[in-house]
């Protein structure tokens, strides 16, 4: 097994202790949490606004990702 780089490797994106919570929400799990908010939010703002948010999120990510 090639393990090159695994021991000394520093991760610029890895969450530090104090950033752990923020990192989970706004980092790696940003996509499922956004999906959860858009789907669950239908209760408050209705299905058409959810569809608008889903489309808007897609457009934003297509630009920056």
């Amino acid at each position: 097994m090639d393990e090159r780089g695994t021991r000394q490797g520093g991760d610029r994106n890895a969450p530090r202790t104090r950033q752990q919570g923020v990192g989970l929400v706004l980092g790696r799990s940003l996509f499922p949490i956004t999906a959860l908010v858009i789907v669950a939010g239908t209760v408050w703002w209705g299905p058409w606004v959810s569809l608008l948010f889903a489309y808007g999120w897609w457009r934003v990510v297509a630009r920056v990702g």
């Binding site: 393990e3 695994t6 520093g10 969450p15």
Partner: protein, 324 residues
């Protein structure tokens, strides 16, 4: 961050949270479908809007959950116990339309061991002139049609090992058991909020992702480190478990996903030396460029442009008759 004893690597907590939130989102969508009064889903138009919004979001996160998140698990198991790895794997890929063992075989045994070679049937097919089929054709045909045919041949022919066929049947049984649950609860719900998102996950998310990862590349035996594209968008790599460092990943598939940025820095000179293709954007922008209907040639050229920081500067020729 202290590593919980459960996990192999502390950063794998992200993998766990991602998948659990994805399952929770499916649960919320199902609940709203089954309780239409709660969210005003009483009209046909309202239901259609909800299905489109929910299916897009569910399919999108399922594509990432299997194609990126579970993908990491196939290379480096996230739990320390084999039992947990086996069962969490089964309950991981079923929400993306895959039995875990099938995806693992396709990715590790077929794709990684034969990347861009004749044995790698996971990638787009080549035309007579050697170029790839279009992204649209590949995405629509690869899942489940081509995968099913190739997997059946592999499991029947022993490519997955002597017990591969039996194991495949067992895993298919577990998959069908779990995958059928939403259909048992409500067949219409199963179709629009379960099967439809899985189609989106595979055809609109994972297909274009696979295409972008290796588009315009060469077999490793012909040009080392030109087998994959490396995508450097910070937003993309932050939210996609560093999957953009794809050349590095194929060169060293057992390096943990959280350590790929560090590996990339150490490999930078090597990448430049071998003229490995590096771009400043992510898969989303890459997919757009590779599937552009207006000005497709210009868009492909844009995709093929090398990141300015990764251009090899040719060594200067010694000047004849110059000073010693």
């Amino acid at each position: 961050m202290r590593a919980p004893r459960l996990l192999s690597h502390p950063a794998d907590l992200h993998c766990l949270v991602f998948h659990l939130v994805a399952l929770l989102t499916y649960g919320v969508a199902f609940w709203l479908w089954l309780h239409p009064d709660a969210a005003g889903l009483t009209s046909v138009g309202g239901r259609v809007a909800f299905v489109l919004a929910a299916a897009l979001m569910l399919g999108w996160i399922s594509g990432i959950d299997v194609g990126v998140n579970f993908h990491n698990h196939t290379h480096r198991r996230i739990f320390r116990r084999a039992f947990l790895n086996r069962w969490f794997g089964r309950l991981w890929t079923f929400s993306g339309g895959w039995p875990a063992f099938f995806w693992q075989h396709a990715h590790v045994t077929v794709h990684h061991d034969h990347v861009l070679g004749h044995g790698d049937w996971t990638l787009p097919r080549r035309r007579a002139d050697g170029s790839w089929e279009s992204l649209f054709r590949y995405s629509v045909l690869h899942w489940p049609w081509r995968y099913a045919a190739h997997l059946a041949a592999d499991f029947h022919g022993g490519r997955a090992g002597p017990q591969g066929g039996r194991r495949a049947l067992r895993e298919l049984g577990w998959f069908l058991l779990f995958w059928s649950v939403p259909f048992v609860i409500d067949p219409a719900m199963g179709l629009v909020l379960w099967a439809f998102p899985h189609w989106i996950a595979n055809v609109l998310v994972m297909g274009p992702g696979m295409y972008a990862q290796h588009a315009l590349c060469d077999e490793p035996s012909r040009r080392p480190m030109r087998h994959s594209n490396t995508f450097l968008s910070r937003f993309f790599n932050l939210t996609m478990f560093n999957i953009g460092y794809h050349t590095e990943h194929h060169e060293h598939p057992h390096v943990h996903w959280s350590e790929l940025p560090g590996l990339h820095e150490r490999m930078k000179d090597e990448l430049i030396e071998h003229q490995s293709h590096v771009v400043p954007f992510g898969y989303y922008r890459g997919g757009q460029l590779l599937s552009a209907l207006t000005g497709p040639r210009r868009s492909r050229e844009k995709f093929a442009e090398q990141h300015p920081d990764y251009v090899r500067v040719p060594e200067k020729e010694p000047v004849a008759g110059g000073e010693p």
